[in-house]
């Protein structure tokens, strides 16, 4: 029997006590690993969200939100100043309009419903046919009355003119063209992409034609987004819609891409200085910052968790070994008295401490691997539940009031929320190495304390108390 054998044997000489120490240590190691995994996953997701959100800025006329509100469209001069702003690498301009039955021969595929009908009540009154009951202006009848007849509200079809059809995508990526080909947003051709729902409703296919604003438009392709509102609309080149609606140069939304995420804040400031109160400017980076705020909170929490769990683990081992040495002072004194060197006694206690640590670490790491996934998911799900709920409560067929210009930006926003809930626990080699490193540090600390204590024990002092 040598030092190592004795150390291992001593570690399990009291199974109940050693088992309790091992269990407590294992739990702290499992917590360390879980917290490291959660921290790694969250930090990685924060980077991903920031990278995804990164560099887009949306500029809309002041007072406009999703087709509602008022104000004037952005002008050609304003678009030019946006495009020429430093650090802006590209822009996508959009104009949205609603086509009623007078504007197109298409049948809207969206059911109006009570919500849609309510949106049209003011429009209906403004366009109502007013029939004077008494038309003789010279009449002396002072109780002249008017009979107002409101036509029944009718569903409308949203048409978006854009320089880039992909800006309508709800996922933030490319628009999915289920048949045909996409359109050239920079052209002024009388072509359109038709949403899958609208195409089905009107039996449209690639090459079909329909009438819009008195002109014949050819279907270039059918797109699908999975969003009922978007799939009930039409996408045209921006110039085409501007011409058809007599709004030359008018734009209701510009999505600008900045060349670097570092320049987003400065570019937003520059645009605000240029456009003043005429436009509302928002950046995805700002939205992302608020979206990842909760994740950053979790990252800080997990960092604190790692430190606390490591401290608890170290304390468990140090105190346990301290108590072990204290209750075995006589035994240590006897071993020294019969010729055991300090080295042999210290070695024995180091092996004893390491045995407990290693057993606890192995159990803890296995436990940590098992619980880190659910723990990370739980932390992130709880944290992002508020934003998820907000997204979930939006009804089908409605987006920002009557839909329209905010669609592209909200697509990216939806992507951010999806990212938040898709944080998955990932145990990388670096995280595992960090956990093992912390464990070894604790093991060394836990062994060094008893080693220092045993070296201080003088056999004569121990045996004198007989």
């Amino acid at each position: 029997m040598n030092v190592v054998t004795r150390g291992v044997k001593n570690a399990i000489r009291s199974p109940l006590k050693s088992g309790a120490i091992v269990l407590m240590f294992a739990i702290s190691i499992a917590l360390i690993l879980s917290m490291l995994v959660a921290r790694g996953s969250v930090l990685s997701k924060i980077d991903e969200v920031k990278a995804t959100a990164g560099t887009a800025i949306t500029i809309q006329p002041a007072g406009v939100m999703g087709g509602m509100g008022g104000g004037d469209p952005l002008t050609t001069e304003q678009i030019a100043s946006i495009t020429s702003t430093a650090n802006i690498s590209s822009t996508t301009s959009s104009l949205t309009d609603q086509m009623g039955t007078d504007d197109t021969n298409l049948t809207a595929s969206l059911e109006l419903g009570s919500f849609g009908a309510r949106q049209q009540r003011f429009d209906s009154s403004s366009s109502a046919t007013t029939t004077p009951a008494i038309t003789d202006a010279e009449s002396t009848d002072t109780t002249a009355t008017e009979e107002t007849t409101r036509p029944a509200p009718t569903p409308r079809t949203t048409v978006t003119g854009t320089t880039d059809a992909n800006s309508v995508s709800t996922t933030g990526g490319d628009l999915t063209i289920s048949s045909g080909a996409t359109i050239d947003g920079s052209s002024s051709d009388k072509v359109a992409l038709v949403g899958a729902t609208l195409a089905t409703k009107n039996s449209l296919s690639v090459g079909s034609t329909f009438t819009a604003y008195g002109e014949t438009i050819t279907v270039s392709g059918i797109y699908t987004t999975g969003n009922t509102f978007q799939d009930s609309g039409i996408i045209m080149p921006l110039a085409t819609l501007q011409t058809l609606t007599d709004q030359a140069g008018a734009v209701s939304s510009v999505k600008a891409t900045v060349n670097s995420s570092d320049n987003v804040t400065a570019t937003v400031a520059a645009l605000k200085a240029t456009l003043g109160d005429d436009a509302d400017i928002t950046s995805e980076a700002e939205q992302a910052a608020s979206s990842v705020e909760s994740l950053q909170g979790i990252a800080s929490l997990t960092t604190a968790g790692v430190i606390a769990a490591a401290a608890a683990g170290a304390l468990i081992i140090v105190l346990s070994m301290f108590l072990v040495v204290r209750e075995r002072r006589r035994e240590i004194g006897v071993i020294k008295a019969i010729g055991g060197s300090n080295g042999k006694v210290i070695g024995q206690f180091i092996v004893e401490g390491l045995t407990i640590t290693v057993i606890g670490a192995v159990i803890g790491l296995v436990l940590g691997i098992l619980v880190s996934g659910p723990m990370t998911t739980s932390l992130v799900t709880n944290s992002s539940s508020t934003s998820t709920t907000e997204t979930a409560t939006q009804g089908r067929g409605g987006r920002g009031g009557m839909g329209g210009p905010g669609g592209a930006f909200q697509g990216a926003s939806q992507q951010l929320n999806t990212n938040l809930t898709q944080v998955t626990a990932s145990l990388t080699p670096q995280i595992f190495t960090a956990a093992v490193g912390i464990t070894l540090l604790i093991a060394l600390l836990g062994s060094a304390i008893p080693a220092w204590l045993t070296a201080r024990i003088r056999p004569a002092e121990v045996l004198r108390t007989e």
Binding site: N2, V334, A337, I338, G339, N342, A460
Partner: protein
């Protein structure tokens, strides 16, 4: 030959300095069976600790086979204890989670005995002190006081030490068992020329040794 010259030992206690040994001098020849008697607190155990290099004297010198052991380094004193000294304690002081055999093998390991022959040597020693085969594989808690003291003696003899220092070896045993243990030590001193120094307050035991030193208030009063 073991010689103690003008040894004094002072302890610092919360109540002030306590002088446990005062200018003690004595010598013991090789192979002698010596007893040290005295009342509780007279300095017997302190003297034994100094002889076994468990403690150093405040003043004076201890010369063992021409080596002044109190001037040795800590590591050399450990070697001295491992190879030249065998301790027998009143409380036996066996390592509780080791079997009788393993306790003896532990001393053999510290004495540098080859690992391959430790088991044979330990078995032989335990058999020679009268421990049955099945008892040799028991832990101390499953042995009687007398059996534990036999294991303690076997452990003390493991490295064939020149000196055995026994502190009240029969103090915890009944008279019959105590007599057997004493006879065992006595036989050893005769058969193996081992110098045995026994601290005891049992005058009957002291009367059977070759030489008796009496300690009173830290001073040798009778040689």
């Amino acid at each position: 030959m073991l010689t103690i010259e003008n040894v004094s030992k002072t302890f610092n206690t919360p109540g002030g300095q306590v002088q446990a040994l005062k200018d003690v001098s004595l010598s013991v020849k090789t192979g002698e069976f010596v007893s040290i008697i005295g009342k509780s607190g007279s300095g017997k155990s302190t003297l034994l600790s100094i002889l076994g290099a468990l403690d150093n004297p405040s003043t004076g010198s201890i010369i063992v086979d021409e080596t002044q052991i109190n001037k040795l380094s800590g590591a050399k004193q450990t070697q001295y204890r491992a190879k030249k000294i065998g301790f027998v304690f009143q409380q036996y002081n066996l390592v509780p989670n080791l079997t009788a055999l393993e306790n003896v093998m532990l001393a053999l390991e510290f004495g540098g005995y080859p690992a391959s022959s430790r088991l044979d040597r330990a078995t032989q020693l335990l058999t020679s002190v009268g421990l049955e085969d099945d008892q040799q594989h028991r832990r101390p808690t499953r042995l009687s006081g007398g059996q534990q003291q036999r294991v303690s003696i076997a452990r003390a003899l493991a490295n064939q030490p020149a000196y055995i220092l026994a502190d009240e070896p029969t103090g915890n045993l009944d008279s019959a068992t105590g007599k057997k243990i004493f006879d065992l030590l006595h036989d050893l001193s005769r058969s193996q020329q081992t110098t045995i120094i026994v601290v005891t307050h049992d005058l009957e035991i002291a009367g059977k040794t070759d030489k008796t030193f009496t300690l009173k208030d830290g001073k040798i009063t009778t040689k």
